[in-house]
Symmetry: D2
Subunit: 358 residues, 4 copies
Amino acid sequence: MFMRMSFTVAVAGASGYAGGEMLRVLLGHPEARIETLTAHSSAGNALGEHQPHLRSLADRILAPTSPDTLAGHDVVVLALPHGASGAVAAELAQRDPTTIVVDLGADHRLSNAADWEAYYGNAHAGTWPYGLPELLHAGESVPTKQRAVLAEATRIAVPGCNVTAVTLGLQPGIAAGLIEPLDVVAVLANGYSGAGKSLKPHLLAAEGLGMAQPYAVGGTHRHIPEIAQNLRVAGAPDVTISFTPTLVPMSRGILATATARLVPGTDPALVRAAWETAYADEPFVHLLPAGQWPTTAATLGANTALVQVAVDERAGRVVTVTAIDNLVKGTAGGAVQSLNVALGLPETLGLPLDGVAP
Amino acid sequence: MFMRMSFTVAVAGASGYAGGEMLRVLLGHPEARIETLTAHSSAGNALGEHQPHLRSLADRILAPTSPDTLAGHDVVVLALPHGASGAVAAELAQRDPTTIVVDLGADHRLSNAADWEAYYGNAHAGTWPYGLPELLHAGESVPTKQRAVLAEATRIAVPGCNVTAVTLGLQPGIAAGLIEPLDVVAVLANGYSGAGKSLKPHLLAAEGLGMAQPYAVGGTHRHIPEIAQNLRVAGAPDVTISFTPTLVPMSRGILATATARLVPGTDPALVRAAWETAYADEPFVHLLPAGQWPTTAATLGANTALVQVAVDERAGRVVTVTAIDNLVKGTAGGAVQSLNVALGLPETLGLPLDGVAP
Amino acid sequence: MFMRMSFTVAVAGASGYAGGEMLRVLLGHPEARIETLTAHSSAGNALGEHQPHLRSLADRILAPTSPDTLAGHDVVVLALPHGASGAVAAELAQRDPTTIVVDLGADHRLSNAADWEAYYGNAHAGTWPYGLPELLHAGESVPTKQRAVLAEATRIAVPGCNVTAVTLGLQPGIAAGLIEPLDVVAVLANGYSGAGKSLKPHLLAAEGLGMAQPYAVGGTHRHIPEIAQNLRVAGAPDVTISFTPTLVPMSRGILATATARLVPGTDPALVRAAWETAYADEPFVHLLPAGQWPTTAATLGANTALVQVAVDERAGRVVTVTAIDNLVKGTAGGAVQSLNVALGLPETLGLPLDGVAP
Amino acid sequence: MFMRMSFTVAVAGASGYAGGEMLRVLLGHPEARIETLTAHSSAGNALGEHQPHLRSLADRILAPTSPDTLAGHDVVVLALPHGASGAVAAELAQRDPTTIVVDLGADHRLSNAADWEAYYGNAHAGTWPYGLPELLHAGESVPTKQRAVLAEATRIAVPGCNVTAVTLGLQPGIAAGLIEPLDVVAVLANGYSGAGKSLKPHLLAAEGLGMAQPYAVGGTHRHIPEIAQNLRVAGAPDVTISFTPTLVPMSRGILATATARLVPGTDPALVRAAWETAYADEPFVHLLPAGQWPTTAATLGANTALVQVAVDERAGRVVTVTAIDNLVKGTAGGAVQSLNVALGLPETLGLPLDGVAP
């Protein structure tokens, strides 16, 4: 049994896709009391103008995003552009040290300042506890997972959506020493909501409908050092990864095909067992029965990750496919899952497991 | 306050789209205990092979559909092909008269056997209480709605999905005497899940992606007499309706544009007020603020109907647009809403109000 | 036999969707020599940056749009925002009176200045010969079509894409006196390219994928007076039309469902014959065999309009469905068809008849 | 100059996607005279019932597929299921040895019977000249391409669509010795038409709309030995490839992300030049300017392959992205290109270079 403990929440950036999804997930959470919604240029508008699907909150007025509007809540969620979280979080820490701050942006994910500077270009805002409860810590004598770290956290850096998908796909093999962390290759099919509400020509419906297009090809995507960081936590001494996302005509979803070389001499029969062991007790990460393959449709709206693994003996590679909803398990759902841990609530509380399909 | 009352459920036809959605909605219902799932040709399979998104029930084995497997539950939901419900329901009534039977199919919707025979061609199975709680009964001295009828029901005929959309769009104007029920014209944009899992060439993804196609043009669609029936209940002495559905590249959703002539001499300023009055207290039917238009995205996964109305004075017509999720408010959600009423539970219990968007 | 006559062309607005499609169609035309491409903010760029599909012209540099760059060609095509064509055309007329100017925009379509001002709000730029060769002129003793007018034209006002679809659907019944021009109702499923490359949130792929949304509901769309104008040319003494476009998840295409009341006392058996007669000799407008319905996929990339008609005797309405590619028959293809007529070339020269499907 | 030489064609399998696209391409070819269309279960129907977009041929009646109907043409195109071409081709060879037979199926692609049997399971029908004119033959003293072989051919085995995309992406680096042919990884985003008109649940629009799903994961796809064969022709001593196709919501198109390790010690600056050299004179394979990335939309309906290459120095891999239309460059367009070579016609005759976009 747990003590029911309701908490108040403020969501900064409520007019965007990540902020909207955070609200949708929190609306299904029995202990969350959504008190304050803020926005930048949309401040003063009703939420219904920007998030017409959130009927429960349609009449709420967006306050301006500032420490003044955000302070005084048990939990503050930051759904802000990269680089904007650091200052707000610092000010909130001063005003109210017990507030739990959840950052959906990238600012506090990387533990290595040099990685941050190489990929993001400005000064590093510091490292927060990383919000992926299922992340394996394989170097320890008794293997643990990241949820042990989150149980003590008052700051949570929510992972990048692509990072969650690729990490969940590969980490069991890394932790078990079955696959090589050098020369990992990941190619992703991504829904357009991952790009946010940016008004750019290549994100128009007339362009995106019926076509596939890659972006950030050739090692430039900012999620690369974050994936490498996770695989190191899972036991890789060093990591190289070729990572290519491709936009395909869906609003939500990530289908990540991530492959790595089978360690020479490894018995292929051991592979599936490593993934089974890693996820046997996980409520949201499901290894599918052999022969079934993940689809993004099966995870739409849910905090679920579906994983499958196969050994291609001719190619000498393990191929993993992971499907998530980029806005749920990849962002807002993963955030609430970590928040539940930090609050001492049941980890699954209020989180959807079943997708909306077809 | 209400007394919490859990109920057991069997769902017949659990491998199809309507049956799957019924399960998804029931999984979110705090009082439903899903006990039996049945199927025809898929009996013996795990549900996860057919509904990979329903993680909570992935390992459940499908029983064969028969009175033997369905009997003995508080509630039985029939998600069967047209014509198959009548015999099953009769047998269940004999075995267990207190069971509530919810029919997602068409067999028991029409009150007029001649209508049934004209549009469906076989013998009429009889008429059940109609499962649209918001249906206006305008002919009565104190106007009521259909939920009063449902409060006493042990049989529920769930409306056709298109019927729900068109009825909700037009009925306030009919009941208020502001629009003419003759010469109604409705054209719908429909998602493909409305066609079920039928393996037909024109339903293939390669065909449907990126194109629009009409079907059942020229007055042949079976939902026409059902819409007319509802508008008569709402106060129309007689009804004619030109109804054209069109398949567009979305999996779910109905966007119904339904127009009717403004009664000559009517003050256009009265129109909006009639819709406001009709839906002011409705939890799931929302008239949008003036200037906002419904989108199917805003209702995806939710039991919500979004309605807007405009007067085109040049054309002399009132234009209504209604968006619903065909599988939720149009099928499984509407069914559970009616079931809640029949069970004496709060009408909104366990039903999602907020859509999954973008 | 005709004398081969090649012509030089300049296209203004070559970086947009209409301008790009004009180039694509002209590239397939054996007599067109594409000499000058112009743009506004993209001037100086290579065309390949904006129209990556036009491989034949990828290295062409966009000139600034001005009379200086456009003058001196046999044909000038204006693919400019509404209101911009008038001044450019006037200047071109002064410099080179024999140049044929084709306006893809709305400025010169309407014959009635009051209509223009009511729907567009600024001063009317004047009326040009209307670029729909198949438009019926039913009032004349020997019925003719608009191509007779175009044969003498040096100015061509290309119709609105929605207008083409609705006009082709309804005009045979109007001209034959079989349907009533009052109380026409048209609802359209529209692809996103019809909205142009405008950077607006509701046009983003993340929003548009998987949903349907209406716009310009209630009689405000600017294509309404143009449809009415055409139906009057086809023989209607007066016209009222309720017109609702809806955006659906496709890049191209219009599926127009347009209905009108059957004139009381009309023999329904006469209906199909009227459409057959109207289009028997048309190369690009095809009445489908009874029982087949138009799909936008079948017209993609082609200058073809597919039409079907049915009589709904219960509703007392004729229902027509017309499918076109909004950018081809609805814009650039229709423009080149009219241009062929004006140039004395075979009307079908260089125009695709077969769609790209599936 | 070339001598114009018209040829007669029969297309077997005209009711399917590959056969329909062959007809569409041939309709644009100035020398092709389409004489006979055949089908299996649809024999006797008008083509318009199955290919409503092919307006030019809508009234043609489908003959039964047999040597009797196919014999007597200059060219016979076989668009038949795997395994069906061998017997038909043998019979045609006996009757008319000068007929050119083009096989769109897999039966005659592989040069190694053991490969065929490992992946297809039945007896190998023999090897025909391979229909990829751009295939590099790097082992020869003066490097040539496959078009030299095709110039003498009377049989053409058209490549698999995925094979074309991956081969074009990687072969310049293989031929130049810059990338390693071992440990190639390719992941593809595929449109649904690649799966043909098969009536399978996972190919329904309701399923495919808005989701991504992998298939043939883990080294089982039949295109793998064919890619390896091509890379060996291009100079690889041995090849291993991890290959994963994923279905994404588009009707047409392949976006192939194919990566290989940079040979240790290679100067990354040499990479782009190798691709430039390989494709400088190719009419249909275009290396995009640095910084532009291929999209499938830009190739829709065209015989064009768009290629880009980048070096990811951190990962030590070259990443190539290739976009094609699977039905054009990947099937029917590539076939006609090879046929032009075999007939001594200009290779580009009648083939579309510009895509249909947006």
